[in-house]
């Protein structure tokens, strides 16, 4: 009996000895801080991405740098980070608790020159603000629209890839010096991009392997953006703010967007599922003689917009493919949504809607009968308001008003259009009145 007691005491003692160091470690050590996690750097990791993952904000990377430096002072197994843009595999980093982040950010050493954190979490350093910015890759138009939210873009964006007439038309309103911008051939390779002597090239992140890697191999800095979802939009605007040296502008644009998003989401947040109308966003395209209808994937911005505007997107489960999925009339009929919004990128969506209204088979649909078949607004033909372009905020507001006219009776889309182009692109009212409003389709006069 006594042996048993003795053994239990010994066992407890052993446990305490094993557990003690851990409990001791977790106690905050005051000024030196503590690590919420210790992270070992893997090959290909970027500090901004690590900050995004653990601290939910890629701009918070200086906190990790400071925390790790402090740990390094006591324990050299932690890494010594001289350049946050250069991480080596195997380094041990100290990830501080979220609560410590503000204080650590404040303690961060000021940086000589410019540091930009991009969409892949890379930290790119410049000795001075880049003066020659080149935008390359496909679908440059949408990214260009975001860049031109910054007035500095007018002087500093020196080359764009591709030269669609609509883009030239719109950008010449925004940038009177557009003639000096070089238009690179579509699908330009690294050699041609380099010929325009850029200080930095802005690319979408999926082009990292194809265009980014060769450009960096030659020594041209690259900054990546995503600009596909609202969250990415806010983060990438901050990145662009760093790139243009105008973080205030980035903050102002973000506020503009957030206010309007809040207006929309607050008005619909108390809606129960059944109260939300089922909505279908449908792309109408004509291929030869055939008319094709397709729906966007569940991950794209159209789906997010429909939900934010207080609708139920009917295509969510169906859209399995990576791009626009073709659907036939039978499927549309089986969904029979309350509201149908027709997107058209290459023709007038209002004309498309007229065609559909006249079609007998479409007249059987609930949405057509109750006159809730709408054209998704566009300006400048291919600039539809459903795309990941700054105009998506207009699209969101329009969609919300279309789905819930009663809740958004105070929302004047036309007025918002004026405000959008005036505040975000610096156009004066007269220009908007003459050049843009007349070509807007889908918004009630």
């Amino acid at each position: 009996m006594q042996l048993r007691v003795l053994l239990s005491v010994l066992l407890m003692g052993v446990f305490l000895i094993i557990l003690a160091p851990r409990t001791i470690q977790a106690v905050p050590l005051g000024q030196d801080g503590t690590c919420a996690t210790e992270y070992i750097v893997q090959p290909g990791d970027h500090l901004g991405a690590i900050a995004q993952k653990y601290l939910e904000d890629r701009q918070a990377y200086p906190a990790i740098v400071v925390a790790t430096q402090r740990q390094h002072a006591r324990d050299t197994s932690f890494a010594q980070i001289d350049d946050p843009g250069q991480l080596a595999a195997g380094w041990k980093l100290c990830i501080p608790p979220l609560a410590d982040v503000p204080q650590l950010m404040a303690a961060a050493a000021p940086v000589a020159g410019i540091e930009v954190v991009d969409a892949l979490g890379r930290i790119v350093r410049f000795a001075e603000l880049p003066q020659r910015i080149v935008l390359a890759g496909k679908a440059v138009r949408l990214t260009a629209d975001t860049l031109y939210l910054f007035p500095e873009a007018r002087e500093r964006v020196v080359a764009l890839e591709g030269r669609s007439p609509e883009m030239v038309e719109f950008l010449s309103l925004v940038n009177p010096n557009l003639a000096q911008v070089q238009f690179l051939e579509r699908n330009a390779g690294p050699e041609q991009i380099v010929a325009s002597r850029p200080d930095v090239v802005v690319l979408k992140s999926y082009l990292a392997d194809k265009l980014g890697a060769p450009l960096m191999a030659i020594g041209i800095p690259v900054v990546y953006v995503d600009l596909e979802t609202p969250e990415q939009f806010f983060d990438d605007l901050v990145t662009l703010g760093q790139l243009f040296g105008n973080p205030q502008r980035a903050a102002a644009v973000n506020t503009f967007f957030r206010e309007r998003i809040a207006t929309v989401t607050q008005a619909v947040q108390d809606l129960a599922e059944e109260q939300k109308p089922s909505v279908l966003i449908l792309q109408y395209s004509v291929q030869g003689e055939q008319i094709a209808f397709s729906v966007p994937p569940a991950t794209w911005i159209q789906t997010t917009m429909a939900e934010m505007a207080g609708g139920r997107p009917v295509w969510r489960e169906a859209a399995q493919g990576g791009g626009w999925n073709i659907v036939n009339l039978e499927q549309i009929a089986s969904w029979d949504p309350d509201v149908i919004c027709v997107v058209s990128y290459f023709s007038d969506p209002e004309a498309a809607v007229e065609t559909l209204r006249a079609d007998e088979r479409w007249q059987a649909l609930k949405a057509v009968r109750s006159d809730r078949l709408f054209a998704f607004p566009t300006d400048f033909l291919t600039y539809s308001w459903d795309q990941p372009d700054p105009r998506w905020i207009l699209g969101l507001m329009w969609l919300a008003k279309t789905l819930h006219p009663d809740r958004f009776s105070a929302l004047d889309i036309r007025a918002e259009t004026y405000v959008f182009f005036e505040q975000l692109y610096g156009l004066d009212r007269a220009t908007v009145e003459e050049k843009i409003i007349p070509i807007v389709r889908g918004v009630a006069r």
């Binding site: 041609q192 999926y206 890697a213 060769p214 191999a217």
Partner: protein, 339 residues
């Protein structure tokens, strides 16, 4: 008769010299040719004075040009070898599930790993090897036919399985970011070649090519029937397996970084045999050099003709098929047939 045979040997040596000079000349030209400031030739003076151009040439053009050369050589050597050991002049390096397996691996990597370095290359290599292993395994379970027929059939079946896998992945891929990558990879392209990628395949490609070159006379023997090869002292199955492994190794190594490039391995061995004779001892080195020239020429067009990259496989098919037609319709200058 002895005199004629030695003339014949000298002729081959001459052909090799011309081809080698041609290849070196083309290499030099290719380094200066590109799209830096439009489709043009960089003058050496420009190159001397412009540090940006220098970096461009050293980091982008030079590895690419060397890789194109290696690609052509590897595929030509592999095609020659496979045609001999399968006793069939219509065999292509990738047919035993190597090409389609690599395509499947690359598609998986593009979908799942995106921008992780070496993911595409690694998975492509792995699945290329897996394709051959599966073809071999399946061939052993086929109940009829000689070993050649069995291997060809199982190669077709395994290739088809991988191809359908790629089809499914293409459907699910994002059309802006992933699908063009997958499609481009399947058509072949050298736009992403860096020094590290080039160096990474050398440990596999160089020994494979060396084995093929050393075995080239033996390939003549292996192209005979089992009985004959045996009676002449060969271990036909084992030696063919070694040659096959070397050919697959060379193919998989280059395909893993360049994507699926077709026709080079099919047409170049033919052309080489046409000008140098069927004896692999002579025709294989000729095929090697011709393959390098052909692939390099096609890649130059691929990267300079238009602003965007033209897939390399498209050009090799175009020029390869054209040459093939030309070849088949002209009289053979070397062989004189009996009246």
């Amino acid at each position: 008769m002895s005199a004629t045979y030695h003339d014949y040997n000298h002729r081959t040596a001459r052909q090799l010299r011309y081809l080698a000079v041609g290849l070196l000349g083309l290499l030099l030209l290719s380094v200066l040719w590109g799209r830096y400031s439009g489709a043009s030739l960089l003058s050496p003076a420009e190159l001397w004075h412009d540090p940006l151009a220098q970096r461009l040439v050293m980091t982008l053009r030079l590895p690419r040009v060397l890789m194109a050369c290696l690609l052509g050589m590897g595929l030509a050597a592999s095609g020659s070898t496979l045609q001999m050991i399968f006793r069939n002049p219509l065999v292509e390096p990738g047919f035993l599930g190597v090409s389609q397996g690599a395509a499947f691996g690359a598609a998986c990597a593009i979908m799942v790993f995106g921008t992780v370095p070496f993911a595409v290359q690694g998975l492509a290599l792995f699945f290329a090897g897996l394709g051959v292993v599966l073809s071999y395994w399946l061939a052993r379970h086929i109940r009829f036919g000689g070993w050649v027929l069995r291997l060809v059939l199982s190669g077709i079946a395994i290739s088809a399985l991988f191809a359908s896998g790629v089809g499914v992945l293409k459907y699910v891929a994002d059309p802006l970011t992933q699908l063009p990558e997958i499609v481009f990879w399947m058509l072949g392209g050298l736009y992403a070649i860096t020094w590290s990628k080039l160096l990474s395949i050398l440990p596999l490609a160089v020994p494979s090519l060396a084995v093929i070159l050393f075995m080239r006379w033996r390939l003549n023997l292996l192209s005979m029937g089992e009985q004959t090869a045996f009676s002449l002292g060969a271990a036909p199955t084992r030696e063919r397996a070694i040659a096959l492994a070397a050919a697959v190794g060379a193919t998989a190594a280059v395909v893993s970084v360049s994507g699926v490039v077709g026709w080079v391995g099919l047409i170049v061995p033919h052309m080489a045999r046409r000008i140098a004779g069927s004896d692999a001892q002579k025709s294989l080195p000729v095929a090697l050099l011709m393959g390098g020239i052909f692939a390099l020429g096609c890649d130059n067009v691929a990267r300079t003709l238009l602003a965007g990259e033209i897939p390399l496989g498209t050009l090799t098919s175009l020029f390869g098929a054209g040459l093939f037609i030309l070849l088949m319709t002209t009289a053979n200058p070397w062989l004189r047939s009996a009246a």
